[in-house]
Structures are given as C-alpha cells and as structure tokens.
C-alpha cells in the first residue's frame, strides 16, 4: 500500500515537470499556431543555464529558487530572441514547414550547447535540504519530489490567474480563439506573440533547471522532452491548458506504472495511449478541430502537363547510372546505391505528402520495418536474398494498411503527430526487443551473396528503385493520383462526385508504406547491417527534407531532392563535425528562402 502510494507520488512529481514543458508548448501553439519542435531544446538550455547559475551560488533553498527564477528569465529572453529573429518569418508557412524549421533550430541548439558546455553530463552537488526524505510507512519519499508535486498545480493556478485576471491573459485567450479578430481590434500582434513565446520558453527553461537536483544536464534532454510533451499536448488537445495538465498526469502516472508492470513496452505504451485517445477524440480531450491536412503541407498550385525535356534528362541520367560501375570505384558506387534508395524513399513519402495531402513526420517507420523484416528473415530463417527483399515491402505494406485504418480519418497536425508516434513505437520495439533485434547494437553481417558482388547489388538496387519510383510517378498521372488530389483539393466536392476518399487514402498509405519498406530492405543489405535508428526521427526528417528540397508540388521533386540531398550529405555534412548545425541552418534557409524546393523554383523560373 505504501509502495503504491510512493509510486503514485513519483508519477505525479514527474507529471509536474512534464506539465511545465507542455504548458509552454500548448500556449505557444494556441496563439501562434506553430508546433515548436525546439521546445525540448529550450528545456535543455534551461538545464545547462540552470547548472551554470546554480553552481555559482550558495546551496540554501533561497538561492536555489533564485537560480530557477533567473533561468526562467534567461531562457524566456532567448525564446523572445528566437521568436523575433526566426519564427516571425514562418507564421504564414504551412504547418509542416514550421515543424521542420523548428526541428532545424533544435539541431542548431544541440551543437551550440555541445560547444559551450561540452559533451559530458553535468550534475550539481546536492544541497542537504535537497537530500531530505519523508517516511511513508516502509517507503522513503524525497522531499524534493513532494515540492515538485505541488509545483505543477501551482503553476497551473498561476497561469489560470494570468489568463483570466490580466489584460495580457485576456489577449492570449482571445488570440487562441480567433487570431484575426485580435488583429482587427488593433492589438500589436508582434509584441503579443513575442511575449507568449517568451513565457512558454521560460516555463520550459524552468522545467529544465528543476531537473537538476534529481538528474543532470545532458544532450538527450531535448528530444526526450519534446516527444513526451508532444504526446501530452496532443492527448490534451493542442492549445488547451487544462488538457496539458490532464495529459501530463496521464503520462506521468503511465510511465511510472508502465516501468513497474510492463517494463519492456513502456515506450510503446505512451504512444498507444495517445493513439487510442486520438481514435476516440480526433482533436484530443479539449482541443479545437485542426486545420485541413492539405493546407498544412503547402498552398497547392496548379499542376501542368508533364515536360518531355525532364523525361529526356531522366533517361540520360539513368543510362549514366547504369554504366557507372564500369568506370567508378567502390566508394562512389556505395554512394550511388544510397542515392537510388533515397530516390525511392523520397518518392514514397511524396505520394503521401503530394497527391494525398497526408503530412507524415514518421515515414522512417516503414523504412525501418522493411529493413528489419529483411534482416530478421535473413538472420533467423536463413532466407535467401530475393525472399528477404520481398518480405520488406510486404511487411511494411501490411503494417501501413493497419496503421492507415486507424488514422486515415484524422487530419493536420494530429495526423503528423500520430505518424511520428508510430515511428517511435517501431523504434522502441526494435530497440527493446534485444533477443530478436540485437537492440541498440543492431544486426550485423547482412551482406548480399558473394556471387552478386558490389556491382551486382548496385544494379539490382538501381533496377528495383527505378522501377518502383517510375510506378509511383505513373500513379500520379493516373486516375488514382488524380482522385487523391481531388480529395486533397476539396474533400466535400470529391465525396459529392462519388470518390471513395477513405479507401483511396488508405491505399495511398499502404502503397507508400510498402515502397518505403522496399527501400529499407535494400538499404539494410547495402550497409550490411540494420539499427533502430533506421526508424528514428532523423531518418524521417531526411525523407521530409528530400521531398521539400526537391519541391513537394512537383512530381519530379522527390527525385531531384533525393539526389541533391544525398550529394549534399556526402559532400558537405561528412566534412564537418558540426553537421547538426549545418543541417539545421540549411533547413532554415530552405524553409524561409525556398519553400517550393529546387524543382518548384525551376518551374517558376521556367514559367517566366
């Protein structure tokens, strides 16, 4: 009984920290409509800044409180700076681009933190008052956790007073309800947005500093925190403060009891709960309906007839690629194999994002499933290469179809979040299922048969990837692709002319999943190994960047984007240790400067 009570209290304490982060995220979303991927980074900065401040002050409680408040102010100021210099430029960009831009910010902050504070974990020497315990019968419970438990509701109360008893709060609520109306009333939106962002950032920073007494400042905080906070905010309903509080409580308790009862699947459990909540309430517990999916990706342009010039360029490139093994070495051939796979991976995502208008932030899920399907079949069933490669698209396609049934009616940011959640589930499963998948160490030694050789495998990959990509392209010019686009452009009209949009979208999810699965299967053999990272967020972002770099509006976009990205990656990023910073900066330049991508820009330029 005491044990149970102690566990519940522990859960409530972690829920409080989570709430501080989630509250900031949800307030920022409510007012600015930006889903801030860098929110976890602000929490991480709070931990590091809090460490610097607190290691220079005395260890009494008053100094600790002062240090936390100072961290709130400093991170709040950093947030204000971030808003004024960058976010302000992307308020009118589609939601997906905003998500991607703030992901870029996250990458940059990570490298900058590394430069300033170094790679090691930073801990504070524990002050005596932080080491205290209270007795719960048999159990000892830390006083500090008790303080945290009261802090969460305290902050909720303070925010409630701020929102309901001050002019600033009234403006925040009004802007959350109707942004245009607030603008029409002559309120200076810029100052309001900056202030809201500073408030949210400060809360995240404070949460980071509060991690220190029982943990450390480290470089993993950003991603871990932001993914949890996303789950909380999506469960509660984006923009809703009470929703964030209830979501935090749910996740906090779930994590504690998950570890106790089902330690193997804790990571999965959290996302499962989110998926169930969204299946029952598509906008979260207290959320408003999200904006239409299609507009979350781009403001869709007219698609003109196919250019024959592009066809000739493509054919010429293919001839060069086929002949390449005759005059290049192993290194270049390796990169070209990766490029061919990247083209298929990007093309599969483009089918979803372009014609179907489905924002996916977790496309690596299917890539990872394909890779592991092939690898596991090779390792445990001693399957020959053709069979293992066949299994990749089949497994990915079947799972994509099951996933599609659950999500195909959702839209906008919620759908993007659920794709991200599913990818995290896949990642967690392969990460934790040690006996089968080798966990973090992956599965090694998965080379294609000796007889095939490097050249043979390259030609096989080139053939399969080209064929699959061409099929995906053809679909877009076929009735199927037009029907998908019809639903994206106007769902009511598409239904009125009798298009079975739910089935069409489901088919698109399945086909895209299967194609990405094939790409993953081929990739595993090209690298000779598979790792959980194949299903990770970084890889999902790779796919998104390829599509956006090439241009989501154009059918040739993913091909151009995949090739350009692979070249950039090899040419630029491997030369520097600061690849996160460079990649992050490149994302920002892309989103702010060239939202239509390379092919899109070429089309605009050509059309002049």
């Amino acid at each position: 009984m005491d044990f149970l009570l102690a566990q519940i209290l522990t859960g409530l304490a972690s829920a409080s920290s989570l709430f501080l982060v989630a509250a900031g995220l949800t307030i920022i979303f409510g007012v600015t409509r930006v889903v801030n991927f860098a929110h976890g980074s602000l929490c991480m900065l709070g931990a590091y800044i809090g460490w610097t401040v607190l290691s220079h002050t005395s260890r009494d409680p008053a100094a600790f409180v002062g240090g936390v408040v100072a961290t709130f102010a400093i991170v709040g100021a950093i947030g204000a700076l971030l808003e004024a210099t960058l976010l302000r430029r992307i308020y009118h960009a589609p939601e997906l681009l905003q998500l991607l831009a703030t992901f870029g910010v996250m990458l940059m902050i990570q490298d900058m933190t590394l430069w300033i504070w170094g790679a090691g974990d930073l801990t504070l020497p524990r002050a005596p008052w932080l080491r205290g315990f209270i007795r719960l019968g048999e159990e000892r419970f830390p006083v500090y956790d008790l303080v945290l438990i009261f802090l969460g509701p305290g902050v909720l109360g303070a925010l409630w007073l701020l929102l309901h008893r001050t002019r600033f709060g009234t403006l925040i609520r009004a802007a959350t309800e109707n942004r245009d109306m607030v603008a029409a009333l002559g309120i200076d939106q810029r100052r309001l947005f900056t202030a809201v962002f500073a408030l949210g950032a400060g809360l995240a920073g404070m949460a980071g500093a509060l991690l220190l007494p029982s943990g450390s400042a480290n470089l993993h905080i950003d991603l871990a925190v932001v993914v949890d906070a996303f789950v909380v905010v999506v469960i509660g309903g984006m923009g809703s403060l009470p929703g964030a509080f209830i979501g935090s409580m749910m996740i906090g308790l779930l994590q504690v009891f998950g570890v106790l009862l089902l330690p193997k699947i804790t990571l999965v459990l959290v996302f499962l709960v989110m998926a169930i909540v969204l299946a029952i309430r598509p906008n979260g517990l207290f959320g408003q309906p999200a904006a239409a999916t299609a507009q979350a990706i781009a403001r869709w342009d007219f698609v003109g007839p196919a250019s024959s010039l592009l066809g000739w360029i493509g054919a010429a490139a293919l001839i060069v690629a086929t002949a390449a093994p005759l005059f290049t070495g192993a290194h270049v051939l390796g990169i070209m194999t990766e490029a061919a796979i990247a083209v298929l991976f990007a093309s599969s995502l483009h089918l979803l994002m372009g014609p179907a208008g489905i924002a996916s932030f977790g496309h690596a899920a299917w890539f990872g499933i394909g890779a592991y399907a092939s690898a596991l079949a090779t390792r445990w069933l001693a399957a020959p290469l053709p069979f293992a490669l066949l299994l990749a698209p089949i497994m990915a396609g079947v799972l994509a179809a099951l996933f599609g049934v659950a999500v195909v009616r959702l839209s906008g940011v919620y759908l993007a979040m659920l794709t991200l959640a599913f990818a995290q589930i896949v990642w967690a499963v392969v990460f934790q299922w040690n006996t089968m998948t080798g966990g973090d160490n992956g599965l090694l030694g998965l080379w294609p048969p000796e007889a095939l050789g490097l050249r043979g495998y390259y030609w096989l990959t080139l053939t399969l990837c080209t064929a699959a990509s061409v099929l995906l392209r053809r679909m877009q010019r076929a009735p199927f692709g037009y029907a998908l686009r019809a639903g994206r452009d106007s769902m009511p009209r598409a239904e009125a002319i009798g298009l079975p949009m739910v089935h069409l979208r489901l088919a698109a999810v399945t086909i895209a999943g299967a194609a990405a699965g094939l790409a993953g299967g081929l990739y595993g053999f090209a690298k000779g190994s598979v790792f959980p990272g194949y299903a990770g967020i970084d890889r999902s972002v790779d796919a998104l960047l390829m599509v956006l770099l090439g241009g989501v509006q154009t059918i040739s976009g993913p091909i151009v984007g995949a090739l350009a990205y692979t070249m950039l990656y090899d040419g630029l990023l491997r030369l520097t240790t600061a690849w996160r910073f460079v990649l992050g900066a490149a994302i920002l330049v892309l989103v702010v400067g060239f939202p239509r991508g390379i092919a899109g820009a070429a089309r605009v330029w050509h059309g002049r």
């Binding site: 698609v303 679909m475 076929a478 029907a483 106007s490 009125a496 298009l499």
Partner: protein
C-alpha cells in the same frame, strides 16, 4: 413515382427545431425553389438532403429507395449531384481535368494506376464544358477562374455524374445581375434537355421567380406555403412573413 420524396423530416440543434416536420415531393424535370427568411431552416433542410447532416426523424426517398441514412457517395450513385454555396472545385487541376475526374469516378475507373488521365474521357469532358459554354476555358488552371465561371464549372462537374436530381445551394450567390440571369437560364435549359429535377435555395427573388416551376416557403423550420410562382406571390401569409421584408 416522385423523383425525390421527403416525409416529415426533422432536425434539432440543442432544443431548437431547425427543421420540424417538412414533407414535399419533386418530379423529374421539375425545378423547385426552397425559400424563406434567414434562419428559416433552408440550409439545414438542404444539408439533410445532400447527406451532410443526419435527420432526427423522417425519411428521404430518391426514386422510391430510402436514402435517409446513406452516405454522400451512395447518393451520388443514385444520381444525386450537388452544387455548393461557395464553389468547390479541384484547384490543382485544369478546368477539363475537373470534369474528367468526375467522369472517371462515374465510370468506375478511379482504381486504375497505370493509365494516364490525359486522354481518358477527354472528348466527353469537352462536350460537357460546351454545354455550360466553357470550351474556351478548358485548359485554364481552375484556380484562375472568375467566380461565375467556377459556378458554371461546378454545373459541368455535376452533369458529369449524369444526375437525375440536382441540389443547388444558392447557385447565383455573389453574381452580378446579368451573370445571374444567364446562370438561371442555363439551369433551366439543362433541366429541360436532360429531364433533371432541380431543387435550389436562393435569396434573390428575381432568380427564384425566373425559373422555378414551384416554390416551397419555409419559416421557423416548417413549410408555410407551396405552389406555383403565381400562387406564392398572391399568398398573404408568405407576404407577411417573407416578401413583406422585400416590399
């Protein structure tokens, strides 16, 4: 047998009886206008008919078969097409492709993955655009059309479904006087040539009286009058609650 038969249709929103027991029928080739002051329940009634809303009570029959609880797609298969109050078209496609996709849908060719759309039903699409006088605009991007043209394109898209019944929500909303007259004449001509039954709502009385065979008048969720334009004009009740505002 009536093309459309509506029997004591009901819909409430939190205690407000938006549609309280509406019954009427519509024959093939007949044009019927549904009018009434703001808040009378026209739009609710209309959204019940086109499947956007589910009624609380009553029945809707199309050609004798009960479609009350059928989804939008089933209505389409039974020959019910609709126009939207704010024109809804596929903006990433050309005018011709908008019609082509509707033709492909009707022909059951949506699930084809390998053939190019470019040539499928091209001639039929052009023929339909000709019917609404838009052949010259066939290759234009749909997003660049003037509002009146978008409304005409909607008609062509609706015709592609070979409809027996056309539901039009304020077909001439937002149009100038000359444009409006042309639109209403076009609807009359299409209804006559293809024996299509048309039910439409409209705020503009000139548009209503110019083409309607019959007029249904709603107020406070109920039908208060039904009859030919002449009869409605002479109806004192209608004058009191509705036309009185105009006079």
């Amino acid at each position: 047998m009536s093309l459309l038969r509506v029997e004591s249709l009901q819909k409430s929103f939190g205690g407000i009886h938006a549609v309280a027991g509406v019954s009427f029928a519509l024959a093939a080739g007949e044009i019927v206008a549904l009018i009434g002051p703001n808040g009378a329940g026209k739009s609710t009634c209309f959204n019940l008919l086109n499947g956007q809303l589910r009624p609380d009570g009553g029945r809707i029959l199309v050609n004798g078969s009960d479609v009350t609880d059928e989804p939008v797609r089933a209505l389409c298969q039974l020959g019910v097409s609709r126009g939207f109050q704010v024109a809804a078209t596929f903006t990433s496609m050309s005018v011709r492709e908008n019609v082509q996709i509707a033709l492909l849908s009707r022909a059951g060719e949506i699930w084809r993955f390998g053939v190019s759309v470019v040539e499928r039903f091209k001639a039929d699409a052009i023929a339909l655009l000709d019917r609404v006088g838009m052949t010259a605009l066939a290759e234009r991007a749909c997003g660049t059309l003037a509002y009146g043209d978008l409304k005409r394109l909607e008609l062509a898209v609706a015709l592609a479904g070979a409809p027996k019944l056309l539901l039009l929500d304020e077909p001439s909303a937002g149009m100038a006087v000359a444009e409006r007259a042309a639109m209403m004449a076009l609807i009359r001509r299409l209804a006559d040539e293809h024996t299509i039954g048309v039910l439409f709502t409209e705020h503009n009385m000139d548009a209503v009286f110019s083409i309607a065979d019959r007029i249904l008048v709603m107020d406070h969720g109920a039908l208060i009058a039904a009859g030919t334009p002449g009869e409605i004009r002479a109806n004192r009740h209608v004058q009191a609650v509705y036309l009185g505002d105009d006079a």
